[in-house]
């Protein structure tokens, strides 16, 4: 009897743990992290940024949904299942106003396939709907974004 109870308790514990892991993973799935390396060496990290693909643009929302980084205009080509884009225009939207940001160079990797894909010549894998962005502005600010796409809208 006691052994039965113990087994049931163990089962419940395992179930609760699995549910917790599943829940925490699903929360993390549609989010991204933005890292901004300033010219002066200071670094800011923003966890919980939402990444969306709207038309031909990638939009990265700040965690408080106040700002949006819009990456538009890029030369895109496929490397296997990974789409690599060389962006050349980015804008920063705050309070509904778009501010163009001087652009230097960058790369965007998108995996819109259903399976995880390795980045070219790298051991790094992009999960399904994964996105990886590296952008350097004309003023020397580096912006790195990684996460998964929350929504794709035409």
């Amino acid at each position: 009897m006691h052994d039965m109870k113990f087994r049931t308790l163990r089962l419940y514990s395992a179930g609760a743990l699995a549910m917790f892991i599943a829940l925490s993973s699903s929360i993390a799935i549609a989010k991204g992290t933005v890292r901004v390396d300033q010219h002066d060496g200071s670094v800011q990290r923003y966890a919980g940024s939402v990444i969306r693909v709207v038309g031909d643009t990638i939009r990265v929302f700040s965690p408080d949904n106040r700002d949006t980084l819009i990456i538009s205009h890029a030369a895109c080509s496929y490397i296997g299942e990974i789409q690599r884009c060389l962006p050349y225009r980015i804008a920063f939207r705050r309070n509904g106003t778009d501010h163009p940001i001087g652009f230097d160079h960058g790369s965007v990797y998108l995996n819109l396939s259903a399976a995880a894909q390795s980045l070219p010549r790298s051991s790094t894998e992009l999960p399904p709907n994964g996105v990886l962005v590296f952008v350097r502005t004309a003023r020397g600010t580096s912006i790195a974004v990684h996460g998964t796409i929350d929504k794709v809208t035409p």
């Binding site: 700040s62 895109c76 050349y88 920063f92 501010h99 940001i101 003023r139 600010t141």
Partner: protein, 258 residues
């Protein structure tokens, strides 16, 4: 017995977790020697502020970088939003004055130019005189791809990105970068610089499809390929593509002879 096994498992798990947490911090391991009693005959070193470096090192990150501040608010990009001073103008895409107007001395036309591998600031080539006789142009169909326009790119239109050499067709070589020169071509008193093609770029796909191998521009009897945005690269001729000058049609990834 089963209880004992369970208790042992839990104890082991806790122990291993604690060890795992202690390791990345590095503090525990490093402070341990400082707490070790110094031998009696070496009392002087013991008085040294030896323990100090360990905690100090433990508190500091592994690399001398500024701390990463986690933020929850808006993006800190104020510096990039401020009005741009004049020097922040977009990368210069026009040819420098000495390469546009000034006529090149005869000796300069004869010389081979700078040695390959010379690091130079990447810039656009000067505008090129297009070949006059369009009627004689011949398209060499891509041996590996016979699809419709942009079919090679899964139907996605490839647009030249103006901040990269060749619009990014040959790879992510930004104009802000310095790159190793991969030959240069002198034609009509103008110098046209060439750089190495990046793997996995549309240009690399083009070369692979035609089984061409890039070679530094300069020597005669090469395949000279004029890419988007005034870029050019050279390749060794083969059975599919003979010596001569070619343009690229990015929509079908084909070479068109001049």
């Amino acid at each position: 017995m089963r209880r004992f096994v369970c208790a042992a498992c839990i104890a082991l798990t806790i122990a291993s977790t604690t060890a795992a947490y202690a390791q990345p911090r590095g503090g525990g391991g490093r402070t341990a020697p400082a707490q070790r009693p110094a031998p009696a005959q070496r009392s002087a070193p013991a008085q040294r502020p030896a323990p100090a470096p360990a905690p100090a090192r433990a508190a500091m990150p592994a690399t001398p970088q500024m701390p990463v501040a986690s933020r929850t608010g808006g993006f800190q990009l104020n510096r990039d939003l401020a009005p741009a001073p004049q020097r922040m103008a977009p990368p210069q895409r026009t040819a420098p004055p000495q390469r546009t107007a000034a006529p090149q001395p005869v000796a300069a036309v004869q010389q081979r130019g700078r040695p390959n591998g010379t690091q130079i600031a990447v810039r656009n080539n000067p505008p090129r005189q297009m070949p006059g006789n369009i009627a004689t142009r011949r398209r060499i169909n891509n041996p590996s791809f016979h699809g419709s326009a942009w079919g090679w790119n899964r139907g996605v239109t490839w647009n030249a990105a103006p901040t990269y050499w060749g619009g990014g067709f040959w790879g992510a070589l930004a104009f802000s970068a310095a790159a190793a020169l991969f030959g240069e071509l002198m034609s009509s008193g103008q110098t046209y610089e060439s750089y190495a093609v990046y793997p996995d770029s549309p240009g690399a796909t083009l070369l692979a499809n035609y089984q061409l191998m890039q070679t530094p521009c300069g020597p005669p009897d090469l395949v000279v390929i004029w890419g988007p945005e005034g870029s050019l690269i050279c390749a060794i001729p083969n059975d599919i593509v003979g010596t001569g000058e070619y343009d690229v049609d990015p929509s079908t990834l084909t070479l068109v002879s001049e």
